[in-house]
């Protein structure tokens, strides 16, 4: 297993632990790349707070800065770390206990039915 994968997932979860950053990421996910000013206008967050969180998100590789119109920096959501974190969640959500219980139940019930009919 590559050693950085845990670090990548951790950065995603740290980023998502903060409600303001969730709002910013959600805005970039739903409406596409935006400048800090766009985000501050659309969201109930000050321009300073938006800039601070965008800096942190960029460091974590969750958003990338790119040149926008009138030489203003636009931020774009970077999905690759999210996919790494999703794999972590997929492992958590993979339920083998349910199906194995169902298998056991099914085999037992078939056996009971056979006993009952013979």
């Amino acid at each position: 297993m590559p050693p950085d994968i845990e670090a990548i997932a951790e950065q995603v979860f740290v980023a998502l632990a903060d409600p303001t950053r969730r709002v910013i990421l959600a805005a970039l996910a739903s409406d596409g790349p935006a400048t800090a000013t766009d985000l501050a206008t659309r969201l109930p967050i000050t321009r300073q707070a938006v800039a601070k969180h965008l800096g942190l998100l960029a460091e974590a590789g969750l958003v990338t800065a790119e040149p926008g119109e009138r030489r203003r920096v636009r931020y774009r959501l970077c999905s690759a770390p999210m996919q790494v974190a999703q794999q972590f969640l997929a492992a958590m959500a993979r339920d083998w206990d349910g199906p194995l219980e169902a298998l056991k139940y099914r085999l037992d019930r078939d056996a009971d039915e056979r006993t009952a009919t013979t």
Binding site: A9, C78, S79, A91
Partner: protein, 143 residues
């Protein structure tokens, strides 16, 4: 935080391996305890599919078939986008214990990364939808 790559479960079943094997490797078996309906082409490289009445579908590729002993397949990683090429490997191992069977299921590969993921995760993917939308625009313009 530990990143789980592998999930393992063992159950003791009061039924002989032949019965358990049939439940795991036949359409009739898979379609009752696991999916609501199933199809399976039981040989390495064969495909199998389970469907649920709620609308969910799982497509599997059979990888290992050792009669009454080992059944392995790969499938799409639950929760990732449908077009994501990463797959986990699931292997059922059957072991006779008295008149019953010890069944072990191991699923591995949750922590895998596609070859370019490191590159993508750090390098900042500036392609993505912008270029896809650009291609769509070009395509529509050309038509």
């Amino acid at each position: 935080m530990g990143f789980p790559d592998r999930i393992e479960r063992t159950v003791e079943l009061a039924h002989p391996p032949a019965k358990v094997w049939a439940a795991l490797t036949t359409a009739e078996g898979l379609g009752t305890w696991f999916g609501n309906q199933a199809t399976i082409d039981l040989h390495p490289g064969g495909s199998a599919r389970m469907t649920w009445t709620a609308g969910h579908i799982a497509d599997m590729r059979v990888e290992r078939v050792e009669e009454l002993t080992v059944f392995g397949f790969t499938w799409h990683i639950f929760g990732l986008p449908d077009d994501d090429p990463r797959r986990t490997y699931v292997e059922f191992t059957l072991e006779p214990v008295g008149a019953g069977t010890r069944l072990t299921v191991v699923e591995t590969g949750f922590a895998q990364l596609p070859e370019d993921a490191h590159h993508k995760a750090f390098d900042g993917n500036t392609q993505g939808w912008a270029s896809e939308l650009g291609e769509l625009t070009d395509y529509l313009d050309a038509a």
